[in-house]
């Protein structure tokens, strides 16, 4: 069973516009939610996180929104830039033995068009 789901495999957005990536989860016990970005031939890099007790976190052009009642989170990128073209993974975290165990979604490939 997929505990974290990204239902859009791909998304295409015009440069300068807003990109919105969505993610749904099923387990209420997750304590953090986060987004990672991955370029081809590189490992994923951390983008932004949000605690389960908050509903919004902002870092520059990136904002993550959490709707706990709907078990849904989204990543907004404004304005979108060509360098944002990458695969974005949503993940949820649970504490196990002092380590944060991550459960990832399937990923969404974002393409920013000039």
């Amino acid at each position: 069973d997929q505990q974290v789901k990204q239902n859009s495999p791909s998304l295409s957005v015009q440069e300068g516009r807003i990109s919105i990536l969505n993610c749904d989860y099923t387990n209420s016990m997750f304590d953090y939610f986060l987004w990672y970005k991955k370029y081809p031939a590189e490992g994923p890099t951390f983008l932004i996180s949000i605690s389960s007790i908050k509903d919004k976190n902002e870092d520059g052009r990136f904002t993550v929104f959490l709707n706990k009642s709907a078990k849904h989170l989204s990543l907004h990128i404004v304005p979108s830039q060509p360098g944002d073209s990458a695969v974005y993974f949503c993940a949820a975290s649970a504490q196990v033995q002092g380590a944060q165990k991550l459960v990832f979604g399937q990923g969404t490939r974002l393409t920013i068009n000039p």
Binding site: V4, L34, T45, S51, V96, G98, Q100, F104, G105
Partner: protein
């Protein structure tokens, strides 16, 4: 600059071979993780370690084992490689803690089992 290195970028092995994937981090992190990434499935956790000689099963441990004899090194072992273990393998490390601590990823090893 934080660094997670993986011993090989590409590896080709035959069915039934014993395969070792090595990961080294230079950040003095307690936690280390092994994931595999497959199209449409995202990243899935195989095993993680929260201290030297300590290990915990992830979500898909079958067919794999791990070894952590030193803090900086975490090895993934495929005892008898099979074609369904053809995948991209990613290693990560992080600090411990109750709050989310960023996992730093290596560049990945693309393993092909023939």
């Amino acid at each position: 600059d934080v660094k997670v290195t993986q011993s090989s970028r590409y590896l080709v092995k035959r069915t039934g071979e014993k395969v070792f994937l090595e990961c080294v981090q230079d950040m003095d992190h307690e936690n280390m993780f092994w994931y595999r990434q497959d199209p449409g499935l995202g990243l899935r956790l195989i095993y993680f370690s929260y201290d030297v000689k300590m290990k915990e099963k992830g979500d898909i441990p079958e067919g794999y084992s791990v070894s952590r004899e030193k803090k900086e090194r975490f090895s993934l072992i495929l005892e008898s490689a099979s074609t369904n273990q053809t995948s991209m393998y990613l290693c990560a490390s992080s600090l411990p803690g109750l709050a989310y601590n960023e996992q730093f990823f290596g560049p990945g090893t693309r393993l092909t089992v023939l």
